[in-house]
Structures are given as C-alpha cells and as structure tokens.
Amino acid sequence: MRIQAQISMVFHLDKCIGCHTCSIACKNIWTDRQGAEYMWWNNVETKPGTGYPTQWEDQARYKGGWEKKGDRLKLRMNSRLGALGNIYYNPYLPTLDDYYEPWTYEYDNLINAPAGDDQPTARPISQITGQPLEIQAGPNWDDDLSGSPVYAANDPNLADLSEEDRAMLFEIERLVFFYLPRICNHCLNAGCAAACPSGAIYKRGEDGIVLVNQDKCRGWRMCITGCPYKKVYYNWSTGKSEKCILCYPRLETGQAPACFHSCVGRIRYLGVLLYDADRVTEAASVDDRALVSAQRDILMDPFDPQVIAAARANGVPDGMIEAAQKSPVYKFVKEWQLALPLHPEFRTVPMLFYVPPMLPVQATLADGRVNLAAVDEDDPLALFGSIEQARVPLAYMARLFSAGNTDEIVRVYRKLLAVRVYRRAQSAGDVPAAEAVRILADAGLTPDSAEAIFKLTATPTFEDRFVIPPMAREVNIESVIDPLTHKQGAGFGFRQDARRGQ
C-alpha cells in the first residue's frame, strides 16, 4: 500500500446553471494571451451536444486514452515506437477548426474610420492572421442547442440509444439538455503524460496536480491526442502544450481555484482524496462494468489508522491527511457514492467526479401550462417522476458517467430521489415520515446521511465546499507568486519572456 494524496473535485450537475462564469474566470487569469486565445482550460458544454473540440468523445477519430488489449493497457493512439514514427505528423491531432479560429473586432475602425455616408463597423478579424474572418464557430457555439441536427444529433454518446429514445429526447417542446462543465481531470493514469515523448508532463507528488514542464516540452503534440478529454492544448505561438494547472499558485496560498471560487451555482467541491498508488493500473484494467467501483476501491479511508500510518510513511504531511478527513469529495465519491467519474472507459482514472443531474423533473404540458405529476400518497416517488422514465435516458447518463453500466446510475438516482422525498416529508409534510425513511433505507441511506447530503448539497458554506490542505511551506514552490502579476505570461520561473522568434 503506497498512499498518495490527490486534490480532487466534484461537480454537482443539478446545480449548474450554465452561466460560464467559471470559464471566464479561468480565461481572465490564464489564457488571455497570444497562442492561447482558443483555449478554454475550463469550458461548459451543453449535453446532448458535440462539445469542444467538436466530438471530443469520439475516440475512433481522436484516439485518446487507453484501451485494453488482453490483460494489458495500451494507449489507443499508438505504441511507443509508433509514437516516434508519427512524430513528424500526428495523424490524430485535431486542427484549429475542430476548436474554432479565435477572433477579435476591428474596434479601431469605429474611431478612426474616415468620414463617410455609412456608420463605421467593427469587422471580425482573426487573432492569428489579423485578416477579416468569416466566423464559422466560436466558444460554446452549441450552447443550449439540444435538438439541433448540427450539434446534439452528432453527440457520440447517443450511440447506445435506440432510434425511439433519440426521437423522444429531441421531441419538440420536450427538448431536454443539461450542462457539463469540464476542466482537466488530473487523472491518476493520465493519457497525456504517458503519450508525451519528452516526458515533460508529470504529476506533482504532493497533491497530484498534472502539469506540463514548459522548458521540457518540445512540442511533439502527442499529449493532445493522448488525453481523451482533449484538455491539453497546443499553443500555436510558443509551440508548447498547455493545460489546466488547477490554479496551484492559488491552492498553495489557501485559495480555491478561480473557476471554483467564481462558481455562481456553487456546484463545485474540492478536497483531498488518499489513494493507493500501487493499485492504479489494476483499477484501470478491469472490465468496463466494474470500472467505477474499481476506482472507488483504490480510494482509501482517511480515518483508518493503517491508511494514516501508510500515508505518513510515504511522506504525506499531517495537514494533508486532516484535509482528507474533512474532504467533501470523499463524502460524495466514496461515502455516499453519489459522484461518478466522466467517461471511466477511457481508463485514465480521472479524479474529477460528477453528481448526475436529475432535472428537469418529469412534467406534462396541459393547456400550455406545465403540470408537475400530482402527489400520490401511495407512491411518494411519483412526485419526481420515475427514474426509468427520466427525460434524459439512463443509457445516455451511463454512457457519460459509468462506462455504460446503468446499475451505477440507477443507484445514484435512487439515493438522490430518496433524499428529496425525505426532505419533502420534513418541509411540506405531505409524505409520511415512516415512508420517507423506508425509501431512504431502500436506497441505502439513513436519515443522518440524508441530512448530511442535503446540507452539503443545498446549504454548504465556502469552507464546506473547498477544503484546501494548509500550506506546507517546505514543499510549496509558488506560494509567493501572485498570478495576476504574471498575466500574459506563459508560466512561472522564466528568466526571459516566453516568446520564440526562432
């Protein structure tokens, strides 16, 4: 047992309102510079939808992540020698058009245009060439466009749904969608790090944050393919790969990452998980159906004296262990088992977990008004509609969050529903209390755990949501650096400007 600490995340999708504040907070701090204009280390996608870059989940096209060959894991893109053979041209690299060509507007023209008969305009111009641009796509071009034949219909996750299910999903006036905010998953078995020919991508031992060493990166572009989430980006101006750094200079000073801090819906939780580093490969190699539970199995109980002893022996500081004990992520992922990893079938063991969305609740339209299903004394669950009739089919959620294993999804939804019924019994009183407790027990919860889930979901404080391990000065490296003084820079520690010219 080799215990390591990982700063991990939970996103509660029922609370996400799709406002993109997280994306803007990130962009303003990290990617507002030349070569990074098109990058969104944090982005929010509409699901069903094609996402960013377009159809990133389609690994037949992008070859990201790992696949199981017999008992062994192999990068889907190529072998080690194959990578060296493809080094002059990576056949699976997305082009800029799969993201979008960044642009700005000719604002100068509004002021400096010569006098004329027409109002001056600010034409869009490319931020790469400076030439006028016919805009084809942009950030969140598919925002809220569920049902669109261009975007939603091409969502790779629809593969498991029957024609009928698809038709229902996109029925007029019953269109349904939800938001999927995405940042780097800071995986335990990162595909980007494995794919990097230079060995420039590494996991920080102290907190598990995955970083790209900019001085070691030689721009071979394999990481972009290796990451199945397409969360490593190629900076076309510096010729280096860049990715989400989980705002580690902020974490080291006790602040939540910018996207977490600014989240309007308060959907984000951050905390430490302790895991057994010796069993990562094992957890990544099981059959698809068992992937979620295998990943849960290597997350260790931070209260277990044996785990604590092993963690100390491996150099995990006491502050980190304490933070792991208070971690909201541990509760959501391991204790209550409400949060699931995104696309575990990519086998990178991602450490960002999602509580799947229940909304919208089942409802019918009558006379142009929305009627919620009537309260049924005999079946309190009917208030929220049955899980099996969920407007977003379970098979779709299973494709996203459990490698196709619908049982995992059903278990989560039963718990979420049971907590709602239990709270309904307390606040509205129209569900018998004993019945509510029985439903909780059926779902594998107790009144205590239901209260705790309710509290951490609905009324958590800032300190409940973000349990950041205290600064350990002897291992911190950037705690004295203010990110704002590094705006427009491409990293820390450079003696010269991170520009090329050669």
Partner: protein
Amino acid sequence: MADNVLFIAFPYAAVLVAVVMSVYRYIDHRFTYSSLSSQLLEREQLSWSSVAWHYSILAILLAHVLAALFPGFWGALLGGQFRLYLMEITGMGLALVAILSVLAFIWRRLTNPRVRAVTTRGDWVLLAALLAQVVLGFLTALLYRWGAVWYLHTAVPWLESLVRLNPQIDAIAPLPWLIKLHFLGGFVIVALIPFTRLVHAFTFPLSYVWRPYRVVVWNRRAH
C-alpha cells in the same frame, strides 16, 4: 587560398558555431529548443510533405554518414554493378522526394495565411538553404554519375582530414564548382542549426521507448 578559407576555415568555424551556440541556446533559451509545429493551424498539406521530407532526408543523410564512417564497408556494398545502380536510383528518387517536399513547405508557408503568421525570417533562410542543398545534391548525382563511389575518394578523405585536425583539400580541389557548392551548403546548414528550428534534430525523444508511462515529481521530497 579561397579553397583554404572555404573548405578548411569555414567548416571548422561552422562546426564551432553550431556546437557552442547550440549548447548556449539549450542552457539559456531552452524554452525555444524545438521546432514550432504548425500542424494545429494546417494539416492537409503537412500530412504528406512533412512525413515525406523527414524520411527522405534522413535516409539520404544516413547514406552520407555511413559512407563517411565506414568507407571500406560502403565500397564493398557498392562493389556489384546492380547494387550500384540500385543505390544511385534510390538516392536520386529520395532526392526528388526531398525537393518536392521542401517546395511544398515553401508553398504552404506562402499561401496559408495562418501558417504564414507563425513563419519567421529564420524559417525562410532555412528553407532556402535546404532547397539549395537538396537541388545541388540532386544535380550532382545527375550530372556526375556514380557519386556513391567517388564520394569515398574525394569528400570522405577531406572530411576525415578535417576530423583528424590535419586538413587536406587535395582530394576535392579539382572537383567542379557545383559539387563544391554542395559541400559548402552542408556546412552552411550546420552553422544554421543553433539559430533556426533545426535544433529540434537534437531533441529526438529516443528515451520515450524505455521511460515509465507515469512521471511523478515531488517539489521537495521530505525524506
């Protein structure tokens, strides 16, 4: 006298500049120590030109180097008429591929506005030098047949004398100017290495074959 400057002083100077400045750039400007890939900006043309260029020029370079390092072996290899024909034809074919792919690079950088935006003056100098060098090499092969063999008795002794720090240019002095230009071009490109994207040749990531897939770095290991 001119020959002494061009074929003794200049090669030494070029190698010295290449070594010193490449080391300096690695130490002081490591961030720039790579080829600035433009594949993200344009992939269709690059998909064949880059692959064709690299494999053809690497094969040609390998032949030059092998012959210079093991002239005896090389001479024996080309001892048969058929094998000599095969080598000459292969060499010329690869040279043609190299010329076409450099032309494709130039065309791509001229016509694609995105790629032009990331093209530096150094790129143009390098492309011009590479084009000149592969054209000169091709013409040498075409106009002065059996270069695969006479190379062993002209350039190889000269290069060997340079390496032994006992420079002798007798073997190449009587050669036609076209061939001498090809020699010079080689050292011009050597001298260009540290000032252009050519440094990426030194960074070929061979260690990827054996390094572990997972890399963990501790800021400061407590014990």
